[in-house]
Assembly symmetry: C2
Homo-oligomer: 140 residues x 2
């Protein structure tokens, strides 16, 4: 069981505490009565997707003895036009940097995360189509 | 379009940057090669759900001229047993504190968030059954 607690501070400012003991601030934009003093709740879903798949890919590439030097993940989410404006499509791009990376190993690691392991992806894809891509940047 | 970037730092440690300019740290538990130096990605989904519905409820109750003094949201998520271990059920409990709060107004605010406005709820319920409840604590 995963747990969290969220407490209202003031205005649209909320404090989120995770069951594992970490804290973040959320806030709305000025259009919605906030002061942009923290993340939007919908942004957290995209960041969770990036973190979850990133952890999979790093651990798979390490098991495959790949010399990984960097991983950047760009995520974009499109919402439905009408309320409740759920995510309908999410694009996730992995930029994987390393030395003599095998394209096959990278492709497989991305696929294993997307198709088999990533819990956040599996949760979000109940609502949003998730499109992934990757780029390899080999360094000398 | 909502955007985010996630960067690998080291081990299972990742930095998430939201398109609105905020940053958080994610990490895995020691069982998965991490050091528990930040949130788990799956926790972010629950916190996002709490923040999203909390913002709705606060703004609806303010419009209804309710004297709201506190809001705490407890969230628990159950995962599937097998990989990818998506969320299958999420319980969210709203503890709403105020002065002479109308039970009808609170009930309606919770319902409006859950059924009509909350984008995170609408996204997660593609995968997880979401069960909500609320408690009112009236203060003198």
């Amino acid at each position: 069981m995963i747990t969290a607690k969220v407490k209202w501070a003031e205005d649209m400012h909320f404090i989120g505490q995770s069951g594992t003991g970490h804290t973040i601030v959320m806030d709305a934009s000025p259009d919605y009565g906030g002061f942009n003093s923290g993340m939007r709740p919908m942004e957290l879903l995209l960041i969770g997707l990036g973190g979850c798949s990133g952890m999979d890919i790093v651990s798979i590439l390490k098991k495959k003895k790949q010399d990984l030097r960097g991983l950047t993940i760009n995520i974009k989410g499109k919402q439905a036009e009408n309320y409740p404006k759920r995510f309908t499509e999410i694009e996730i791009e992995f930029i994987i940097k390393g030395k003599n990376l095998s394209e096959e190993a990278v492709k497989r690691a991305v696929e294993l995360s997307m198709e088999k392991y990533c819990s956040v992806k599996a949760t979000l894809e109940g609502s949003a189509k998730i499109i992934h891509s990757f780029k390899i940047e080999n360094i000398d």
